[in-house]
């Protein structure tokens, strides 16, 4: 399984680097100098890596490959998890990574900061309504108070507000506070 993934990653890398080198050929000399200087050796090494992965795959249908270590990862702690469970949880949180990104794009940081964590905590993490609402409120305060007021960093209202022609969803609430403070 691991070897098949290695072959897939190797093939993808070869494809991407081949395209990168091919694309760079058409550029002026100065522009293509560095991409080609890096691209050719990388392509060669990616091809060697792919060939090695293929050779490992052909040599044994299920090679027992020693897991590669990554220096900066945490040592494993606690009881080991079932692979199916690991896959399921990885899929869940990956989906949430996309939901957070899309949600923030649609609702903006301030309103998205309340809604998305609330939905995540209540419906995915099974936290109580109280915790979820309080959490969303704290995130809102962080964006409104910390980012916009303290750091003077304007945060956009999101695509939905713009589509509706609104400056923001919550300006009717925040503007009086800002006026009061000014």
């Amino acid at each position: 399984m691991r070897n098949r993934t290695d072959i897939a990653i190797g093939a993808l890398l070869v494809a991407v680097l081949t395209w990168a080198v091919w694309e760079a050929q058409g550029w002026p000399a100065r522009t293509r100098f560095f991409p080609l200087f890096i691209g050719y050796p990388m392509l060669t090494m990616a091809a060697v890596h792919l060939a090695y992965s293929l050779w490992l795959g052909l040599r044994s249908p299920r090679p027992e490959q020693k897991p590669d270590t990554e220096p900066e990862t945490e040592p494993e702690t606690g009881p080991p998890l079932e692979p199916a469970m690991v896959r399921q949880r990885t899929m869940e949180i990956s989906a949430w990574a996309v939901i957070f990104a899309v949600g923030l794009w649609l609702l903006g940081f301030r309103v998205g900061g309340i809604v998305i964590p609330l939905v995540f905590l209540r419906f995915q993490a099974r936290e109580t309504w109280g915790t979820s609402i309080f959490y969303g409120f704290v995130v809102y305060l962080f964006f409104f108070g910390g980012m916009e007021m303290a750091l003077a960093f304007p945060l956009p209202a999101g695509r939905i507000a713009y589509a509706l022609g609104l400056y923001s969803f919550d300006s009717y609430l925040t503007d009086p506070i800002l006026n009061l403070l000014r």
């Binding site: 100098f33 945490e74 990574a97």
Partner: protein, 501 residues
Amino acid sequence: MLEAFFDGLLRILDQTTFVLMLIGIVLGFVVGILPGIGSAGAVALMLPFIFSMDPVQAFAFLLGMYAVTGTTGDITSILFGVPGEVVSTATIIDGHPMAKKGEAGRALGAALMSSLVGAIVGAFSLAAAIPIVTPLVLSFKSPEFFSLAILGICFLAALSGDNRLKGVLAGGLGLTLSTVGLDYQENIERYTFGLVNLWEGLSLIAASVGLFAIPEIVELWVRGSAIATAKVGKLGGVLQGVKDTFIHIGITVRCSMIGTFFGLVPGVSGALSQWVSYAHAVQSAKDRSGFGKGDVRGVLGPGAANNSGIGAAMIPTIAFGVPGSATTAILLGAFIIQGLEPGPKMLTEHLDLTFSFVWIIVISNIITVGLCLLFLNQLAKITQIRGSLLIPALFMLIYLAGYAHTNSYFAMTTTLAFGVMGVVMVNHGWPRPPLVLGLVLGPLVERNLFISYEIYGLGFLVRPIVMVTFGIALVVLFLPGLQDWMAKRAKPKEDPGAEPD
């Protein structure tokens, strides 16, 4: 030089800078104490906040955070046997048994005080190295800086376990990705797919955050429990631990020196220096019977080593632009964001800034140890926070980090894409630090390569320092493989019944 040294201190004591350093320390505290959130991811997450800061403020904030993660990481190692940071792993061997014996307070006192001693030794090594390193760096030209950047990537690639080829490929991929955007010489688009958002290149912050923080969030969710499940009892005997540091000051200082030495060598992990220090603590002891069962000397050695490496690791990062770890690679990104270039200018024009790093490391560790000693019982309770409660905050921060750099939602796509890449890389044994280093160093490598080629032609490749540097890079990459191969060849000749050493 002495003037710059004290100027560095004065700049730290500026009110705003000091407050920012305190904020960094608090964040580093939390990051260090929470297993699963690495210092690299945390520093990457905080990058967008440094835009409005001046360089001293930015590094007071980031370096203050980084400098304390190792110190507080020891707390969970001792209390729960779960390392808060990778560099806190060796502390478990004797620290956790001490906690089990009811000496948690003593172990924590020893770990914290030895960390402080280590941090001071490491930071002043950085200060002492500057006069030695400066003439060397000033003699370097573009070819040497080009070769050093390649060496840095090779060092990080060499940490990729059994498959160094993956490390080199990751570094090369980082360099290739750094070419995305408008070519700075001809203003011609490279790999932009016609997207204006890519003209400025891939956002370094969005990429770093995605690459390091998203895999940590995934791991946090997959693990699916509170950070630490064990209950924390009342901690006593902290002062005895502090005294132990001075009773065994020889071990503490020697292990600090070991940590400093390992910190100086780019690519050598802080975790390794901890283990070597632990081994030294054991070997130098007359009575070794207590080690592994809760000997305070087994806590002092690793405690001192993990922090002394931080100051030392800044030397190659500042002087040559060769970071030794993922976190220093991201800190190198902070240099770029602040418009600073590692190398000669950091040791001449910005010398006071460089010396301010020494003071940041020392002061932040003094504050951290003081706070830890005061609030040890309360701090330990932080680890009871459920992982699920951290995840939404982390998601919001990573997307904010992506957005804040460019003021564009497009960077969030970059964050997500690099997050996917990070998860795949972690799951399939591809190292991430060389990739991010390639991305950070790409523009510098390209510029130095181009200047070298324009001035010297291909002759730049045979300049002595360049040849030596490339020689070291080849040794770093191929020597471990060669040793493995020779060991495998020698194996059948050995007695199969022999006990392994």
